[in-house]
Symmetry: C2
Subunit: 83 residues, 2 copies
């Protein structure tokens, strides 16, 4: 399993509830692709959303996001993590 | 304390060791600004680095990154987090 960060732009003014609902739409179908969306963060003033996921491939992550209604072309494969 | 995500571009081919060293340069000075860099992730093929931090302001996070030698203009204030 690899970690992925995907980035969504243009979500200015999205509320916490809307982000929670969008995230929930991923969670209910993510197992179909062996993906897990761990966390999502929103900057409502700049309209940016970041989703941290684990899964077998970028394509698997993207397919879940597409089916949930929020595709993105920006998805990064996080081969290195430090803490 | 607020969470922040900053994004760095152009780091194609950076190694795990180089990311660890860069992150360590933040950690040794972060307390000066009341900032904590929690995690950093790297996509070495696309040259993207994401840093998740907590701190009092965007400016405080940026000042630490500048002093550590890796400024960025892309820093987002994560007012909403879901899991």
């Amino acid at each position: 399993m690899t970690k992925f960060m995907d980035v969504h732009s243009g979500f200015v003014g999205v509320s916490a509830r809307q982000l929670q609902e969008a995230h929930a739409r991923d969670l209910v179908i993510e197992a179909d692709e062996g993906v897990h969306f761990e966390r999502a963060w929103l900057d409502p003033d700049r309209g940016k959303v970041f989703c941290l996921a684990s899964g077998p491939s970028r394509e698997a992550v993207l397919r879940i996001h597409e089916r949930a209604g929020h595709p993105t072309s920006e998805i990064y494969e996080l081969l290195v993590e430090v803490a």
